[in-house]
Symmetry: C2
Subunit: 292 residues, 2 copies
């Protein structure tokens, strides 16, 4: 029976630029809610500079409190420093990030793609030594707020660098939410020629209501991993005008209707979403934390 | 260069069950607006019993006033009586209707599928004698309000009956708006095995926001004709709970983004939609007309 892997990124991408702070206890409730609903893979946080993304400054205490829960927790790490925090925190999987767009890479990570990828090769090596799974994510795989449309060859260049490092998965991200099915098809087909058995994952933002059309096309060409967020929350703080993530419930409903097996309970997902939105509606300020 | 045919069905499907009557002069303005925007194919009305669909009771005067306009006008006709009115009115193309679902066919047309198809064979013959183009549309090609999911073999059975009559095009209609990409793929692939060079057209209602995903999949399997309505208006009066049509502007925008050539001006379409919605907002009552 066909199935797909749903990776919920609400606690990280959904909350990194949210309108209010979600306390650690409520982030744990969110992650527990996702797990109970059947979502086993969750990107729970990012180990980034707390002064850059204050809403994720609680990454260390958060991950510490997840130890008793049996899920596949993932954290985003931008560099070696972040990886070391992730290793200390004991998280089993990390997502690395580089942009297909040179301008976005510089804006997001303060250096060139080549320098970023060189540093990420070392990060991958260290992560594998620590027994972690590594996904290489490619931001702005479709368009960039500064450069406009991004050619597939730039996506392929970053993917090939990741594959040379030996990452365990490749992710293409539609950071701006401008992807369309023809563009998805082109990128997925090209990546299929180089990725061998390395899984390809798709991270969509849903600006024009084309998110599910993009998923349909990606699925047709073999993509079996999707990153989504509850209530379509999220957006990149370094991509002005970016739209929210593709909605977790909408994606699950869409696949179930197509008789693709997804052992996720839509009612429990909805309850988890409602609780989270009620916390966000309080518009709490983020606590100030030291970078440790 | 790839292109697709956009058939706007606003004046017929969009208005047959609308919240207010649109006077003939405004229907002409609507059709002129569509034509000016670049939409050459328009389903302008249905020749049905005026007491059944009062909002389309103006079919004869409407078509009469279209004579000076250079578009590909289409009318829906349910039977021989409707066809004769269409011939008198001088319209060049007709769409016939039968349901894949036996229950919906009986509810919509008051007889069995087999009886309907037998009568439509004669209608097709007469239409061809009058020099008209004939499309055979298949309602409830995905699900039915009474029977639930409709198997592809029932769609195929109706399509094969139409092909034996010699129709010039086949249309599959997602009357309820429950189609999903997997179901679209299955039906289109099956129909591709029997239709030869007869074009296949897709008529979608957009209940769950899956309309464009369905289009993406249909396009992937060779469908190059789509029926849509401005503002997503419309719905079948004999399919309780049916959703509105797929939105014309959204479809055009979706194809243009994919670099598929569509010579349609989105600004002119928007202006046409705004004018129509302003008329509908007045909630006019339909005039009482004799069935002539």
């Amino acid at each position: 029976m066909e199935t797909v892997k749903i990776i919920d990124v609400t606690p990280r991408d959904g909350l990194q630029d949210a309108s209010g702070y979600v306390p650690v206890s409520e982030k744990i409730a969110l992650i527990e809610g996702l797990l109970k609903a059947g979502v086993r893979s969750v990107e729970v946080t990012a180990f980034v500079r707390p002064d850059w993304i204050p809403l994720l400054a609680d990454a260390d205490p958060l991950v510490d409190q997840l130890r008793h829960l049996d899920g596949e927790w993932i954290a985003l790490v931008p560099n070696e420093r972040g990886l070391k925090r992730a290793i200390s925190a004991g998280i089993p999987a990390v997502t690395l990030v580089a942009s297909a767009s040179e301008s976005h890479n510089k804006s997001n990570l303060n250096r060139s793609r080549v320098d970023t990828l060189a540093a990420l090769a070392r990060v991958t090596e260290l992560a594998h030594q620590a027994g972690m799974q590594v996904k290489g994510a490619i931001s702005t795989s479709f368009s960039c707020p500064f450069e406009g449309e991004i050619p597939t060859k730039d996506v392929l260049m970053v993917a090939e660098a990741y594959l040379r490092m030996g990452v365990d998965a490749i992710g293409i991200a539609d950071t701006m939410g401008t992807a369309n099915p023809a563009a998805v098809k082109e990128r997925v087909k090209e990546l299929n020629t180089v990725r061998g058995k390395v899984p390809l994952s798709l991270h969509l933002h849903d600006r024009f209501g084309w998110g599910l059309a993009n998923v349909a096309m990606a699925y047709e060409y073999g993509v079996r991993e999707y990153e989504v967020a509850l209530a379509g929350l999220g957006g990149c703080p370094y991509a002005p005008g970016a739209a929210g993530n593709l909605d977790t419930e909408k994606l699950v409903e869409f696949f179930i209707a197509q008789k693709i097996f997804i052992p996720i309970d839509l009612n429990l997902l909805a309850a988890t979403r409602v609780r989270l939105l009620s916390v966000l509606s309080r518009k709490l300020a983020a606590p100030v934390m030291d970078e440790n």
